[in-house]
Structure formats: C-alpha cells, structure tokens
C-alpha cells in the first residue's frame, strides 16, 4: 500500500462563542490516496465545510484547530508556516466553493483571475498563462473560450461561473482538489453536468478529490470512500460499497432511507425521515451525539463510545453491529 496523500488524525475545531466553546468538529480521522475520491456527507452544520477549510488553512481567525496529525504528502499542515501553506494552496491543493455567484471577484475579468492562479505559483509568461487558461476553459466545456477571458463574472451564468471556478482550481494541476458542495447553488439540470465534469477530470488527471455533498445519489456514483458526519463527528467511514450495502451506524441508515433508490424503493412507499434536531455543541459534548434522535438509544449512549473497526470500514456505536438488523427502524 502506498503512502496516503492526505492523512488526518483526531482533527478538532473549536469556536469560542459568547456562551462557551462550540465544539464544531471533534476528533475526526480519515485518509486519502492519490486518485481517490472521498465523499463527506452529512446535513447542514455537521462540520463538513469547516473540515475542508481546515485542510486548506482557510479557517476564520477565531477558530482553533488541533490535530494529532494532518499531513499532505508528508508535510504536516498544522505546523506549516503561512508561507508554506500559501505555496501549497492553489498549487498542489485547490478548492472549489459552494457559491459560484459570489466566489469570483466582480472587479476583474475571468482571464485575469484564471491567469493569476497560475502566475502566483509558476514562473511563466502571461501569454503562456493565457494559453493555459484557454485550454482549461475548453476542457471544462466552455465554448468560445478565447473571448470569455475578457468577460466579467457578472456576464456569466451560475453554471458557467462554476466551470470557471473549476478551471481556476485546475490551473496548476493540483494533486488534491476539495469541492465543497459545488452544485448546490445551481439548477438541477446543471448539477449533473458539473459533477460529471469534476469526476472525469479527476480521473483524467489522477487527482485525489474530496467532494462534500449531502446528495447520496451523487455519492453512490462517484465515491471510492465515504465519510458520514453528524454534529461534528465522523460517525461512519469506509469504502463506498460497505457504506451502501452494510450501513452500520443508525444515522447512516437514516440518511439512506431519506433517498429513493431506483429499483430498491418500492413505488408508492414512504421515504424515511430522521425526527428531532441536532443538539447544541456548545460546552462539553459527551457520549454519542446522535442519541437524541436514535431509535435504539439507551442510557449507556451517554458514556464513551467505542470505535468499531472492520478493515477500512469503521463506525462509532455502543452496539457492536450498530443494530444493523433492527426491526424498529422500519417503522420509525
């Protein structure tokens, strides 16, 4: 087995607030090899975006980051200097954001912004950078790429802007690309195109990719590995097959019941819901965070929860099998 490109152990993010510390992300572990796609799934506020920003070193000033290990190709990111981080960002690790409408600077042309991404890291001429920009715009499926360079962001639709963002992230041929819900702000018809594009480019360039999403349909199609986050914790992680075929954490099963699966979900049957709301993460967080919504919750869930590992598949639950075969859930 080769060394993982990205290796994260016990990543913790704390946000000081007026009423105590918000433990936004607590002790998560994952790793990623070159060319692999990891999908992080979970509902809004579960800490997915914060995790990705923490990897890029783009967290806000108030947020405290700590980890036993967070290495990118052997470089420890938690102790890397700002200069070192800056050299990595945009060059070897790039990010695509959720909001294509506001993620491009309105004051500069598409060309200026694409070229900047390359010139910040490579000593090449402006002409060469422009040529690279045109090449990538064509690659992401933008027609008349040459003439787009002199256009401003406001002249482009959301879908086009997200393609530009993708091209911009690819300017330096990064080894890792992080896409934070890249399609949520787009029309449904555009969503599939953009995801397909990202996936194909990732394979073509042998990039590792972290795709943050709450769309399990997407996960099933593109992921090699899946990490399920709930309220700041990784409740289950493993190869995509294991997660979909043998979902072990009650939350993962809850999520899966929320989406219809062609061929599996019976016509006219009811889709699942997960009742309740996410608990507050301010102050000490103990035990299993899902216990307030879990149909199997018992008193012991307030104590320490063991991590159950089976090869690459891991989950956290007081029950050894996560009550995988419980009848109770089907009526929930």
């Amino acid at each position: 087995m080769s060394e993982p490109l990205l290796d994260v152990r016990n990543l913790t993010l704390d946000i000081p607030t007026g009423s105590g510390t918000l433990h936004a992300v607590r002790g998560i572990d994952f790793d990623l090899k070159r060319g692999e796609t990891l999908c992080i799934v979970g509902e809004s506020g579960s800490g997915k975006s914060l995790t990705s920003l923490a990897l890029m070193g783009l967290l806000g000033k108030g947020i405290k980051r700590s980890a036993d290990r967070m290495t990118f190709d052997g470089t420890e990111l938690t102790t890397a200097s700002t200069r070192r981080m800056r050299a990595l960002r945009g060059d070897r690790m790039a990010m695509i954001f959720q909001e294509p409408m506001t993620s491009l600077n309105p004051a500069y042309t598409i060309g200026d912004q694409l070229v900047e991404a390359l010139l910040l890291h490579r000593k090449v001429s402006r002409q060469a950078a422009r040529a690279r920009a045109v090449e990538l715009l064509e690659k992401v499926g933008i027609t008349a790429a040459e003439s787009r360079l002199s256009q401003y962001p406001h002249q482009l639709s959301g879908g086009l802007r997200q393609r530009v963002m993708i091209a911009m992230a690819l300017m330096c041929e990064p080894e890792l690309i992080i896409a934070d819900e890249p399609t949520t702000a787009l029309d449904v018809t555009i969503q599939a195109q953009i995801l397909r594009l990202l996936y194909d480019l990732g394979r073509e360039m042998n990039m590792a990719m972290i795709l943050i999403t709450h769309d399990l349909g997407v996960v099933a199609r593109v992921a090699d590995k899946v990490a399920v986050m709930y309220a700041g914790e990784l409740v289950e992680t493993g190869p995509v097959g294991d997660i979909f075929n043998a979902p072990s954490h009650p939350y993962t099963r809850g999520l899966l019941r929320c989406i219809p699966l062609p061929g599996k979900t019976a016509r006219g049957s009811q889709l699942g819901t997960i009742p309740g709301i996410v608990p507050s993460l301010v102050g000490e967080v103990e035990g299993c965070v899902f216990r307030t919504r879990c149909p199997h919750a018992v008193m012991e869930c307030r104590g320490a929860i063991p991590k159950r590992q089976d090869g690459e598949h891991a989950f956290r639950c007081i029950f050894p099998d996560g009550k995988r075969h419980s009848e109770k859930e089907l009526t929930a």
């Binding site: 783009l58 800056r86 050299a87 600077n105 500069y108 900047e116 890291h121 002249q155």
Partner: protein, 305 residues
Amino acid sequence: MLQFILKRLGLAVLVAFTVSFISFSLLFLSGDPAAALAGETASGEDIEAVRRLYGFDRPMLVQYAEWLTAALRGDFGESYYFRLPVSSLIAERLSVTMTLGVCGITFALLTAVPLGVVAAIRPNSLVDRIALFVSVAGQAMPSFWFGLILIVVFAIQLGWLPPSGTASWEHFIMPTIVLGYYAMPAIMRLTRAGMLDVLSSDYIRTARAKGANERRVLFRHALRNAIIPVVSLAAVQMGFMLGGSIVVESIFALHGAGYLAWESIARNDLPTVQALILIFSMFYIVFTFLADVLNAWLDPRMRTG
C-alpha cells in the same frame, strides 16, 4: 454606459436649472429688493429710481430669464458693494478656495482610507478604537472651534504656523486640516464598513485559496472593490467642503470665495451672493456627476451593463 451617462447628464442639467432659479429667487425673499438696495435712509422716490434702474419693476420670470442668459455667458451682474463685475470678483477668489478644497479632500482621503483599511483588517484592535474615536469626535467637532484651537496652539503658543492669510503654503496647513477633518469621518466609516464587507466575501476566500499573499488579497482583491463607493462619497464631500469653506476661510482670513460670500452676505450684496450660491452648487453638481461616471467606469457591472 453611454445611455447611463446621458441620463445622468440630463438630471444634472435639470438640477442645475432648478438650483439657479432658487438662488435667483433669494433676491425676492426680502420682499422688495429695491428697498434693500437703496438702503434704510432712502426715500420713496429713491427706491423707485433704483427699481427702474435694476429692472425690478418687470415680472420676476422675465428678470430670471435675463439673469440666467447672462449667467450662462459668465456675466453675473455688478456687485452692489464693490461696483465691479461679480464674475471677476469671484474668479479672483476662486483659486484660493479650490486650492483649499483639493488640499482638504486629499488630506481627508490620505488619513481616512488607510485608517479605515487598518481598522477593518483588525476589528476591535487599538487602531480600530482610535479610528472610531477620531471619527466620532470629528463628527461632533464644531469646525470653527477646532480652527480656533489650532490657532491658539500652533500659531500663538508654539508659533509654528502663521495664524491667518494666504501668503505661503504654510498658511494652508491649518485650514486644510480643519476642512479635511470635516470630511474625514464619513470617508473613514465607509472605507471600514466596505472593507469589512468585502473581506468576508466569498471571492476573498477564493483569492486566499489560490495562494495569494495577504497584501495581494487586501489591495488587489479587497480594496479595489471597497474603494468604489468611497469615490462617490469623496466627490460629494468635496462639494460639501467647498460650501463649508465659508467657515474655515473666515477663521483663517483666507480671502477665497467663501470669505467673499461671508462678506457679501453681511453687506447685503445680493448679486454676489446669488452668483456664489449658484457656483458652489454647480461644483457640487459637476463633482457628483463625474463621480457617478467614474463609479460606473470602475464597476464592471455598470461599465459593461
């Protein structure tokens, strides 16, 4: 863009005509301009004579039309007090006021923009608190009082600067500070708010994700966008400052257009006052027009829209 400029120009012209009418009608505010002009001791016959001489016996609109056509040619009539053409009186004094205005706005921008930027980069820091204090104090400071304090301290006590007059560039230092400080708080607040807003925007995060260093993020990506509204405000403030130069010029005895306005008002020299109000208004109208055009040009969304 062209359509925007033409529309904006049309508005400016319309505003200019309305303002000209208002400043002209000031003459009739006192009731009988002839009586005012002839003086308190004049007899009824004298007043009648003045009325005929200056044409006050004709309908107001006719007089306005005549005054306006003359004004458009640069002829504002004759000063009641100096018995000289108003236009040459003003032309003589305007350079002092313009110098003061340009110095004042430059001073305001050079202090307000850096202070606003630093305050926005480090909210709640010491610099931010100082900036806030300076701007809150500036908005409450009576400029005539501030000017007098400067004179007491720097001219009388320390003897560093001349208290009044226009003889050298040193004479302009204190007036520049007083006038500039008047415009500074608003510019600083807008710069700070704009920078705060822009710095939390998604495209700044994009710039950081690209690996741009902080200086590049701040100046190339953030300030470029935050400065757009500041340009408009500076133009508006410049217009206000020229109008407000009357106070500063009177304190420091700078013989500019503001000082002339003060004297002329005290002397009831209405043609001069009318002309000055009109000219100061025109400056404001021209500045704001230019600012809107510059603004549209700076903002690609308007330039290409």
